[in-house]
Structure formats: structure tokens, C-alpha cells
């Protein structure tokens, strides 16, 4: 069964549809919803209610995770604006950015084989984070003036950073694993 929670995630959390979100408010509203619908509230209820409570909380969780993440929220907004999107296969069409991605890939490789790889990688991930923050500001601007084409390109860039950050993290984990 699908619950007819037809409201979109912004409506569910009673937020205006837009890129900027007050994270503190989001967290508080999330808690308010959770404390009403979490299956623990239905420990003594009938199987059916327990099942529905699981489905509802799953929906609330999904909405929360989407709104909380800068990347996912950007994808979601584009999706609500009917912008076709495949984050898996599409990449940014900005030529300059493509060159930058290659440089960054090289940097990750270099850091991984440096003398103090863990520190290098830590430094690199901090830099990546700064770049990401700039992109987030950019997306916010583009979305607010409804330049959706540009916003989509920025979202794809963000996606690239997400992947690269994960790569760095995997490398860090591998290196730490060797220490255990």
C-alpha cells in the first residue's frame, strides 16, 4: 500500500519551496514528526497501525534526508521544476570546470602516494569542501532567479564534488585500515 502523502517534502515540513533551509528548524520539525509517528509509539498497537507507522516514518525520513542535504535538495528542486536529470550519467558542460576536475583527480592520486598521505588527503578534503560551499551559494542564486539551466549545471558540478569527496574518503579508509 502507498500512503497518500501527496504533499511534497517542503509542504510536509511546512517550508516555503526554495533552496535555503533553516537547518535548525528542519531538525526540530523532523523531531516533532518523528515523535508522533515512529513505530515505537505503536509498540502496543495493531499490526496494521504498526505497518502504516513504519511507512509514514520512512517517508518522513526520506523527506528529511533530502531537505537536509545541499546536494539532494538541489536535485529535488530541479525535479519539482520538471528539469530532466540523470546525476549518474550527465556531467557539467562547462569546459573550464572539466579541466578543473582532471586537475583534482590528479591531486587525489598525488595525495594518496605522498609521504604523509593521511594529512594530505585531509587537507584536500577541506579544500573540496570550500569549493562545494561556493557552488552551493551559486546554485541558490541561480535557482532564485529561475535560471534553471545554469542551476542544473551547478548541481552536476556539486555531484562531481560529492563523488570525489567519497573517493578521498575511501582512500583515507583504506590507509587507516592498513594501520589496524
Amino acid at each position: 500500500m502507498n500512503i497518500d502523502l501527496t504533499r511534497n517534502y517542503f509542504e510536509l515540513f511546512d517550508f516555503e519551496q526554495g533552496y535555503s533551509i533553516d537547518q535548525q528548524q528542519l531538525a526540530n520539525k523532523y523531531r516533532a514528526l518523528q515523535s508522533e509517528f515512529h513505530p515505537d509509539r505503536f509498540a502496543n498497537a495493531s499490526d496494521q497501525e504498526r505497518r502504516i507507522s513504519v511507512q509514514t516514518t520512512a517517508y518522513i525520513n526520506e523527506a528529511y534526508t533530502t531537505l537536509k542535504s545541499d546536494l539532494r535538495r538541489s536535485h529535488y528542486l530541479l525535479q519539482l521544476s520538471d528539469i530532466e536529470f540523470n546525476a549518474e550519467t550527465e556531467t557539467s558542460s562547462d569546459a573550464e570546470f572539466l579541466i578543473r576536475t582532471m586537475e583534482l583527480h590528479e591531486k587525489v592520486e598525488e595525495a594518496g602516494s605522498a609521504h604523509e598521505p593521511l594529512e594530505e588527503l585531509h587537507e584536500l578534503s577541506k579544500n573540496l569542501k570550500q569549493d562545494q560551499e561556493l557552488l552551493i551559494v551559486q546554485f541558490s542564486k541561480q535557482y532564485s532567479v529561475k535560471d534553471l539551466k545554469a542551476a542544473k549545471d551547478t548541481a552536476l558540478k556539486l555531484q562531481f564534488y560529492e563523488r570525489l569527496t567519497n573517493q578521498v574518503r575511501k582512500k583515507q579508509e583504506q590507509l587507516e585500515e592498513e594501520l589496524l
Binding site: I3, T6, A32, F37, P39, R41, A43, N44, V54, Y59
Partner: protein, 622 residues
């Protein structure tokens, strides 16, 4: 607010009575049960005054013995005296190879993927063995409380996968226990210290038991507990300390006793005593009787001991570091460190942990009991004994869930550390013209290859309408509930047909196997069984009816007259059937009523979401 807030099924019989609930720490080596009495959570002792129940079950021809009395036979009759079965809960026959060192049992050659251990009383699964431990704890609790338990909270390691959690729940079912919730052990420990009542903060739970080490990072924000990350080593613990001391003694005595198990046991026992005494003393005398009747004597200082065990503790600290990074938490952000497990009594462990976190750990509650105590507190809340108390423990999925794709690779569908419950849908399509069936293989784990992950189940999707290749869109929905257990449903979207899903658990027991075990366990008391099933269905019928009554009272206007009539019809059928003594019929009638009211409940759920948001003033969210 009330969804269908009946939440107190006791109502129909005795509304104000305290409802008995218990928390159970079902451990690898030891198990405990605790309950809340007069507002205080405490572990319960057996008739002899022992709180700790060794997780050991002995099978004799006509008798099953659990705990201390079973343990005394562990060395004389190891094949029928089963210990540490938690290590094989939810494990397949194939997994056993890696565990062989730990488990001296004889495994039956058997078709089923669930390993069966041969004993004089026939072969048993780990689930049945665990059920005996749970039964023993249940009897202890009910004798002590003087009434039947309405439900329990059972703790499991945070990293337990779906199969292991399911196995634990199955064991509880066999033991006749209603499980409110499977709670992660670290979360239970934090609850015991009342950290869930604090405003905010990050807590590290350092759990060093006899044979396992776990570190968990929990985050608390206004009553919500979140497991951010977990790590650990399933082959690291206080037993390693014993082994280090034993090896040192053998080295000092210049003994080589490879094959002499008797001697080895004596040395190990001595090592254990020395370890425990070194917690309070700076130096301990060692005395081991050799086979030539001479005594070997020496002394071990605390400093020497610390040197021996340092590498093991360092390993735990490395895990702490790694797990913190996974949680994206800096060590300075950790406010509380909770110590769990008997091995945290070793002062050097505490010292090293305090040094790493820059903060002394919490040690006030007995580290052996702390998990059971926390579980008892949560069980008491879930039983509805403190309706006013805010409680919300959110957990995350411990290991990623994925499906097999081309090339024996695993594609992740729900990544680890996702807050549960969670639902994720995945689209599949047919690749052949007229294809009407499809097999989906579900796995759990972090690695990329199928062989490196744990196979959970295969699902056969059948009854897919025949179409050209790629035309059928099958939406498979994976749902993980609050206990971390997975269920799957599927729908063909273009035609709207529900594809049927048949679950073949890779190493769990199928529902029918559980059913037949339940029947076996009642086989000598057919009538009891019948009565029990009837009573269960009657209770469930009352719950459903009561829930519906209060829901209709509040929100009846959400229904059209026609819809209401249909529900009323189904309701009166159930009311009538409930008076009879046919549990199958009652079950049917419940199902029927549930189907009729499903849409109504969904509408109410929707409405209450709006109310939750509206009911709060904006300031509350700031």
C-alpha cells in the same frame, strides 16, 4: 494526537495495572534480564541469587539445561553443551568455516542453509538454542514479577545484519516473547546512563567484552538518539588478555603444553584470576600446579600486565579513531564515554580510553549490567507505563543493502547509516520479449563483489505481464523497519499488476519453518497451543476494534457514508467471529476489516501530519 491511539491494549482488561515489560541482554557469553520496578531498573537474579546467566545450553536425552548448571559440563561434554551460539545466529553453513576456531560443535550435513548442531537430543539450530536462553530468562522474570510479560526489548550488536536480527526475533518468538523492539546494545547503554534525557551531545560507547569489541558513536539532539557509526572487532576482548598472561606464564615456566588441554585450562583459569586481581592490586602471585605435582610460582606486576595487553588496547583505540571519522565527529566533540563489558574493569583500559578522548569515561553502572538496564527502561516506556515521557530512539541501518547486478557486482540501494525506518524503490525492466519472471538477489555489506557481501535472500518476481523487452517497469520497494528488518514488495507499473514476491531467506528460517518449530514445541500440549493461538487472535481483534472505534470517533467525517457502511459491516463480522473459538476465522475477519479501513487510516495519517505541523507555533521550531 492519535493516529489510532489505543496503545494500551491492557485497557480492555485492567486499565491502570502496571504492564510487565523487561529488557534482555542476549550476550555471546552471558545473558541478563532487567525490569523496572517502582521506577528503578534492576537486573533480576535466579533462585540462587545469580544475575548473570551464562549463555550456555546443555542438551541431554530428555532434558535441556540452561546457564550455570550447563556450563559445568562445558569441558567434559562439549558436543552437547552449546556456548557462544550468538556467533552463528543468522549465519550460513558456509560462514562456519571462518568461525571454526571458536565453536567445537559437530555440524550436521544438512540440506538447509541454516547450520544444525548435532546433540544427543537431535540436531538444533542457533535460533532454538537462543530460544532456550530466552525462555529461561522469561521464566525467571515472570516468577519474579508474578505475572505475564506483555513485551520485551532485546538488545543486539549495532552491526548485526538483517539475518542476525531476524534470527534473534525468531528466537524470541519461539520463546513465546512479544518483542517490542530490537535495540542496539550501545543505545541501551546510553539510555541506562540517562543520556537520552540530556539536552544534546555526542556519546561514545566503548564495549569490550570477553571476545568482542565494539565502538559506537551516538548523537543526541533533544531526545533523538542516532547511531552515527559503529566499528569493532569480533575477535578481540578480555579473553585476549587472559591468553597473553597464559602465554607469559608458560614462557616463564618454560612449558610447552600444546596438546595438554587439562593443563592449558588450568593455566587459563589462573590467568583470568590474575587479570581480575590486577584491577585492584599492583602485583599478583601466580601459582600453577604442574603435571609432575610441583608448583610453578611467579609474580606478575600491573606494569608488566599492561605491557602485555597494550597492543590489544591500541587496536581498540585505532577503531575509535576510524569510527569517529566515519561519523564525521572530532574527538573533542565527544562529551560522554560509556564503558560496557567486563573487560572495561581493567584500569589500563579506562586509562587509555580517557587519554584518547581527553575525558574520563562513565563507569558508575556495572559494565556487565548496563545494557540490560537500558533495555529495561526502554521496554517500560514502550509498554506504555509512562505515557507522558518523551521517548524517541532513532536508529540507522548498520550495513548497506544492495542487489546483485551484471558481473556479480552489488549495487547499493540503501546505504549504511541511513535512518530507519526507510523505504527505497528501485525500477527494474525485463530484458527479453515476453519475460514473465525475474529473480532479484538481495545482499548486505559494504564491498563491491557479491562474494564479499552477505546474501540475505532471493526474490522471484512472477506474474509479470508478458510484454516486449524493456516495456515492463517493475517497481521493487525495499522497506527496512525500526528493528532493521527488510521486507520487499513489487509492482508492475504500466499495467498496475502486483508481481508476487517470494522470499527465500539465504540462511534464515522461512516462516513455515518457524511455524513448525512453534508447533513442535507445543506438540505435547496440543490443546494449550490451540488455546494460545485463539487467545492471541482475540487480543489482536480487540486491539483492532478498539483502535477503529477511537479513530471513527475522532475522524469519522473523513469517510463517505458508503465507505463507513462497508467498514461497519466488516466490523460487525469481526465482533461476531471474535465470540467464537475459531482462531483462523478471527484472523480472516481481522484481515478483512483491515483491508476495508486501510484507506481511512491513510487519510487520518495524512491529516495528523498536517496537525503536527500546524499544532506547533513557529517559535517551537526555533
Amino acid at each position: 494526537m492519535a493516529l489510532l491511539q489505543i496503545s494500551e491494549p491492557g485497557q480492555s482488561t485492567a486499565p491502570h495495572e502496571h504492564r510487565f515489560a523487561a529488557g534482555i541482554d542476549l550476550g555471546t557469553t552471558n545473558s541478563l534480564v532487567a525490569t523496572v520496578r517502582s521506577g528503578v531498573a534492576e537486573t533480576l537474579a535466579d533462585k540462587k541469587g545469580n544475575h548473570i546467566l551464562p549463555s550456555v545450553v546443555r542438551y541431554e536425552k530428555n532434558e535441556i539445561i540452561v546457564g550455570e548448571e550447563a556450563l559445568v559440563h562445558a569441558t567434559t561434554d562439549p558436543l552437547n553443551t552449546l556456548a557462544s551460539v550468538k556467533r552463528i545466529m543468522g549465519r550460513s553453513v558456509n560462514d562456519l568455516a571462518t568461525l571454526q576456531g571458536y565453536l567445537p560443535y559437530k555440524f550436521e550435513d544438512y540440506e538447509s542453509a541454516v547450520p544444525r548442531i548435532e546433540t544427543v537430543a537431535g540436531s538444533v539450530t542457533a535460533i532454538e538454542v537462543s530460544a532456550e536462553i530466552l525462555k529461561s530468562l522469561r521464566e525467571r522474570t515472570e516468577a519474579s514479577l508474578g505475572g505475564e510479560l506483555v513485551g520485551v526489548v532485546i538488545t543486539v550488536p549495532a552491526y548485526f545484519d538483517d539475518a542476525q536480527r531476524q534470527a534473534t526475533k525468531d528466537a524470541a518468538k519461539l520463546a513465546g516473547l512479544n518483542v517490542f523492539r530490537l535495540l542496539n546494545e550501545p543505545t541501551a547503554a546510553a539510555v541506562a546512563y540517562g543520556l537520552d534525557q540530556q539536552a544534546e551531545g555526542v556519546t561514545a560507547i566503548y564495549d569490550l567484552g570477553g571476545g568482542t569489541f565494539d565502538i559506537s558513536i551516538l548523537k543526541l539532539t533533544k531526545g533523538v538518539f542516532q547511531v552515527l557509526s559503529t566499528g569493532g572487532d569480533t575477535a578481540l576482548g578480555g579473553d585476549d588478555f587472559d591468553r597473553e598472561i597464559a602465554a607469559w606464564i608458560l614462557d616463564q615456566a618454560e612449558l610447552n603444553i600444546n596438546e595438554d588441554h587439562q593443563m592449558m585450562r588450568r593455566v587459563m583459569q589462573e590467568a583470568r584470576r590474575v587479570k581480575e586481581e590486577l584491577s585492584d592490586m599492583d602485583q599478583v602471585s601466580i601459582n600453577v600446579q604442574l603435571n609432575d605435582k610441583h608448583d610453578f610460582q611467579t609474580k606478575l606486576s600491573r606494569q608488566q600486565f599492561e605491557h602485555l595487553i597494550e597492543k590489544h588496547i591500541d587496536k581498540t583505540i585505532a577503531w575509535c579513531r576510524k569510527t569517529l571519522r566515519e561519523a564525521e565527529i572530532e574527538v573533542d566533540d565527544v562529551q560522554n564515554i560509556v564503558m560496557v563489558g567486563g573487560s572495561t574493569r581493567t584500569p589500563y583500559v579506562r586509562e587509555k580510553v580517557a587519554e584518547f578522548f581527553g575525558n574520563p569515561p562513565l563507569t558508575d553502572i556495572d559494565p556487565d549490567k548496563v545494557v540490560a538496564i537500558g533495555a529495561a527502561q526502554q521496554a517500560d516506556k514502550l509498554a506504555g507505563n509512562n505515557p507522558d515521557e518523551e521517548m524517541l530512539l532513532l536508529d540507522v541501518l548498520p550495513l548497506s543493502l544492495g542487489i546483485e547486478t551484471m558481473g556479480e557486482l552489488v549495487e547499493k540501494i540503501i546505504p549504511r547509516n541511513t535512518v530507519i525506518p526507510v523505504t527505497m524503490a528501485q525500477k527494474f525492466t525485463t530484458f527479453k520479449d515476453g519475460q514473465t519472471a525475474m529473480r532479484v538477489h538481495v545482499l548486505q555489506g559494504e564491498r563491491e563483489k557479491v562474494a564479499d557481501c552477505r546474501s540475505l535472500a532471493t526474490f522471484d518476481l512472477t506474474d509479470i505481464p508478458a510484454m516486449v523487452a524493456g516495456a515492463a517497469h517493475i517497481l521493487v520497494t525495499f522497506q527496512v523497519d525500526a528493528d532493521g528488518l527488510l521486507s520487499v514488495s513489487a509492482e508492475e507499473q504500466s499495467s498496475g499488476t502486483r508481481a508476487s514476491v517470494e522470499v527465500k531467506p539465504s540462511y534464515g528460517l522461512s516462516d513455515s519453518e518457524i511455524e513448525s518449530m512453534l508447533k513442535d514445541s507445543f506438540s505435547n500440549a496440543q490443546q494449550d497451543m490451540q488455546l494460545r493461538m485463539l487467545a492471541e487472535q482475540q487480543v489482536e481483534a480487540d486491539r483492532v476494534l478498539e483502535a477503529l472505534r477511537s479513530a471513527l470517533d475522532k475522524d469519522g467525517e473523513l469517510l463517505s457514508a458508503d465507505e463507513l457502511a462497508k467498514i461497519e459491516q466488516a466490523k460487525s463480522v469481526l465482533l461476531n467471529t471474535r465470540q467464537g473459538d475459531d482462531d483462523e476465522k478471527i484472523k480472516q475477519a481481522i484481515k478483512n476489516l483491515e483491508n476495508e479501513s486501510e484507506e481511512f487510516i491513510a487519510r487520518r495519517m495524512n491529516r495528523s501530519v498536517q496537525q503536527v505541523m500546524k499544532g506547533h507555533k513557529v517559535e517551537e521550531f526555533e
